[in-house]
């Protein structure tokens, strides 16, 4: 039986915590949420020397205060779950600031181990750290390591087991914060110990310290005993006045200063600097990459380069996926008898899910590019360069992260984007960011764009995507400005942000990042979208056309065929319905480019007619000069096919219009008429509320059902290209409407979780209004300018 131990990983953002976690747990990772909040909790189990070590990855933080959700989550986990050991990942090249968190963990008293990561980076900058001396001075075990190249991981695990065997007690470090604060700490500690809310789970002196720091969570807990609350409050006020008078600083500031004083005293002894190298590689890169003139130019270039690359590289795999689903569809069509089941699987399931999965290569590459920007440290530079602009629109430099993840570089997803708004501390800035996030070009909108661009703007793909990115940023920013100057007015919050050193991202890290997000997308395709495709298929199938209407269309068909057989020239060549059916089959075989001679060698006349018809199809009438007696028949036959197609189209259109979805779509035409959207587009847009990808799959279903010949129609792009109702203006209006109109269900639910139902519903209404207004302007403006008239 193995012994079990739980350890928690803590550390600053960018200290390599994720790399350490990945190196320790490998693929054995699980992701969940911390109870009650939406902060992601990653954990994994590793077996080492008779021990099952459960590793919990705490959120990356700089501190352990009550100001941010992540910090509260981290310290609540430590206090309530009482892990056997906290491993603090410390960036050796940036020791002072990283130890600030370690000091606070020491204050809390939890058994602590410092993993001194990135010692190679430190050394390359001429910084040498005496790990043993640090361990002695700081009073905790220290393990030097380079997690990126797996150096020191084994030693770290050894040390963890070693510490676990001692099963150390919680022991609060005694750090002096100056005489005044120390005395106040003693006073408050003794007050708490005697009170009714005394809780051995929390170290008392730590709680006293938090009171002096004005920590709302801890003070709130203590105020459950009103008398105690008052006693503490008066003590805190007294010390506040005292420090303000003598040092012009709040107690909180004095405490922070002393923590750094404590750290500096240690690091002075254990850190050796060879050369005072002022400019490291990262700084040199910033000279260009954040340069006033070059910076923005390079930024635009990098973003544009990422699109160009993504589209170029995903083109071939997307074709493979399409081919795969076409083959699958053909297989199912021939394997299953014609009827409801075949229709459900082909039109509902394969079209729906295939349309989404077909874009997986694109999504993978987009996510890869985003991971590349994040892991390399460039994303923070984008926030830095754009903060001044975003601030003008009432947002925060950190909003960039949320906006970019949501699709600022096309291909993100609003769901993690909504979650990324947690880095924004000010509720007004956060809600504003939440409200404009759905305007960004998330990965789910890309299939819609890609389909319409392929149909109408095929020559300008990269340029068009770039334009759409600029548009979505423009709309998001203007909407933010509007919201911040009307319903959510208020001051701006601080922008204190680290520019992490540039790092070559590890392939493993990139792949894990990319895979996590792609898997999220595929899961969505397999669940929400599959379910919705089936529901939509049902909405678009039932109620079916009534029998007498069906019979009426059948009558039309029979009449057309009889008229064909009875016409001059045809009689003598094709006799009777049986031969006509054979001709249909031969013509179809010919269209499939299969060998006719082998199959139908005995029906030479019919083959000649079919060949002539096939050759003449699509020719102008004047080109069709008669060279042999089969050709006039072929002309007639083509006319018959046209008539049959039209009847078929009318029948299917009638059927679709009669269904529930058709009625909804038609009813919505009253509203969407000025935008030029007819009922099929409306049905697709309604479906898009589940997830934007559904817009494409529904358009696909709507048009393949209504199309004259499913096999001939080919891809939906080609189908729309041929439709007289569609032109570049109409396509562009739909693109912009899709960009703006409504967040998907998953996003709405996330927005609700991050704010309230009120804001979630507001977001739907607000988005719809903006989308309608903008699309109306585009469409009507375009018509006035005479655009889009084909």
């Amino acid at each position: 039986m193995n012994k079990k131990i739980t350890i928690a990983l803590s550390g600053n953002p960018n200290a390599g915590k994720t790399t350490v976690f990945n190196a320790i747990t490998g693929a054995r990772q699980h992701i969940a949420n911390y109870p009650g909040v939406t902060v992601e909790k990653k954990y994994g189990v590793v077996h080492h020397r008779d021990y099952d070590i459960e590793v919990v990855d705490l959120p990356g933080t700089y501190s352990l205060t009550a100001y941010s959700l992540e910090e509260i989550v981290a310290r609540n986990f430590i206090v309530n779950e009482r892990p056997g050991l906290v491993v603090d990942i410390v960036d050796a090249s940036n020791l002072d600031r990283n130890l600030y968190l370690a000091v606070q963990l020491k204050e809390l008293g939890v058994p602590l181990l410092v993993a001194l990561n990135m010692t190679d980076v430190a050394e390359s900058r001429g910084i040498t750290i005496d790990a043993d001396a640090l361990s002695e001075q700081f009073g905790v075990p220290v393990v030097p390591m380079v997690a990126r190249s797996n150096r020191g991981i084994r030693e770290l695990l050894d040390k963890i087991v070693e510490v676990a065997q001692e099963s150390p007690e919680w022991r609060m470090a005694s750090i002096s914060y100056g005489m005044d604060i120390d005395r106040a700490l003693d006073d408050i500690s003794s007050i708490i110990e005697k009170s009714s809310v005394f809780d051995p789970k929390y170290p008392t002196r730590w709680r006293a310290l938090k009171c002096l720091e004005g920590d709302s969570q801890i003070i709130g807990l203590l105020q459950r005993d009103p008398e105690l609350g008052k006693a503490i409050e008066s003590r805190c006020e007294a010390i506040y006045k005292h420090t303000m008078n003598t040092m012009e600083e709040e107690p909180e500031g004095v405490i922070a200063d002393h923590r750094y004083g404590y750290i500096t005293a240690i690091t002075k002894q254990v850190v050796k600097r060879k050369i005072e190298s002022r400019l490291n590689v990262s700084d040199k890169m910033d000279k260009v990459l954040t340069n006033r003139i070059m910076g923005p130019v390079v930024m635009v270039g990098i973003l544009y380069g990422l699109y160009a690359f993504t589209f170029w590289a995903s083109e071939a795999p997307i074709t493979w996926f399409e081919t795969f689903f076409d083959v699958l569809k053909a297989g199912v069509t021939s394997a299953l008898p014609e009827g409801m089941l075949q229709s459900l699987i082909v039109s509902g399931v394969i079209d729906g899910v295939g349309g989404v999965l077909g874009f997986v290569p694109l999504i993978v590459l987009m996510f890869f590019c985003i991971a590349l920007m994040e892991d390399s440290g460039y994303m923070a530079r984008v926030a830095y360069m754009l903060d001044r602009v975003l601030r003008w629109f009432g947002l925060h430099g950190n909003s960039v992260m949320a906006l970019v993840i949501s699709g600022g570089i096309s291909g993100g997803c609003a769901v993690p984007g909504v979650m990324a708004t947690r880095v924004l501390k000010d509720p007004k800035e956060r809600i504003t960011t939440l409200l404009v996030i759905p305007f960004m070009n998330c990965g789910a909108k890309l299939p819609v764009y890609a389909m319409l661009i392929a149909a109408f703007f095929a020559r300008d793909r990269a340029r068009m995507m770039f334009l759409l990115t600029l548009l979505s940023w423009g709309f998001a920013l203007l909407a933010a400005k509007f919201i911040r100057s009307t319903i959510l007015r208020g001051p701006k919050t601080p922008f204190v942000m680290e520019l992490p050193p540039y790092r070559a991202p590890t392939l493993k890290g990139l792949l894990i990042h990319t895979w996590e997000r792609t898997w999220e997308y595929i899961k969505k395709a397999g669940t929400i979208i599959l379910a919705f495709s089936v529901v939509l298929w049902a909405l678009m199938t039932f109620p079916v056309l009534s029998e007498d209407k069906k019979a009426a269309f059948e009558q039309d068909r029979i009449r057309a065929r009889q008229a064909f057989l009875a016409s001059p020239r045809v009689t003598g060549v094709i006799e009777g319905e049986a031969q006509l059916t054979a001709l249909d089959r031969i013509y179809h075989t010919l269209e499939q480019k299969e060998d006719i001679q082998r199959v139908e060698s005995d029906k030479t006349d019919l083959v000649r007619v079919a060949q002539a018809a096939h050759r003449m199809k699509g020719m102008e009438p004047q080109e069709k000069e008669v060279r042999n007696p089969y050709e006039p028949v072929a002309v007639r036959y083509l006319e018959l096919r046209d008539r049959m197609d039209r009847i078929q189209g009318r029948a299917q259109q009638a059927a679709l219009k009669g269904t529930i979805a058709g009625r909804m779509g038609q009813w919505l035409e009253i509203i969407t008429g000025p935008l030029g959207f007819e009922y099929r587009t409306n049905i697709a847009l309604v479906g898009g509320f589940a997830a934007k990808e559904v817009v494409v799959s529904t358009l696909g279903t709507a048009y393949s059902l209504g199309a004259s010949d499913v096999e001939e129609a080919g891809s939906i792009s080609k189908r729309l290209q041929q439709d007289p109702n569609w032109n570049p203006l109409q396509a562009f209006t739909l693109i912009v409407f899709t960009m703006l109109y409504v967040p998907c269900i998953a996003t709405v639910i996330c927005i609700r979780r991050e704010s309230s139902w009120r804001w979630a519903l507001f977001s739907i209404g607000f988005n719809l209004m903006v989308a309608y207004g903008v699309s109306l302007l585009i469409r009507q403006g375009g018509l006035i300018l005479g655009l889009g008239v084909s």
């Binding site: 200063d257 002393h258 000279k287 340069n291 006033r292 922008f495």
Partner: protein, 108 residues
Amino acid sequence: MSYGCTPVSIKEQVFAMKKVIPMREMRKNQEGTIKRVSATGEMGRRIREMGLVPNTHVQVQGHAPLKDPVAIKVRDFVLTLRNNEASSIYVEVDAVEPIKVQGQDQEA
């Protein structure tokens, strides 16, 4: 560690040829030592937890394309601050040349 500050406005203080100015007025590549952080509340905490406390050496690394925020080098890493935040940090600059206080640009 000393808090050798008097209640008089630090801005006016002159330490033997060295001048204490708000960080906002520092130019690119200028270096100095933090003497006081006047920010309180959340901003004060954020600034301090990143290591901007008295007696810390800082160097201005550069400004964003629109001159705001400012990037500074402190304790082996690079930190960005908005100009109004930098205004609350008073730095004793290592003045080798007479300091020209540049025009107060940006937000009013």
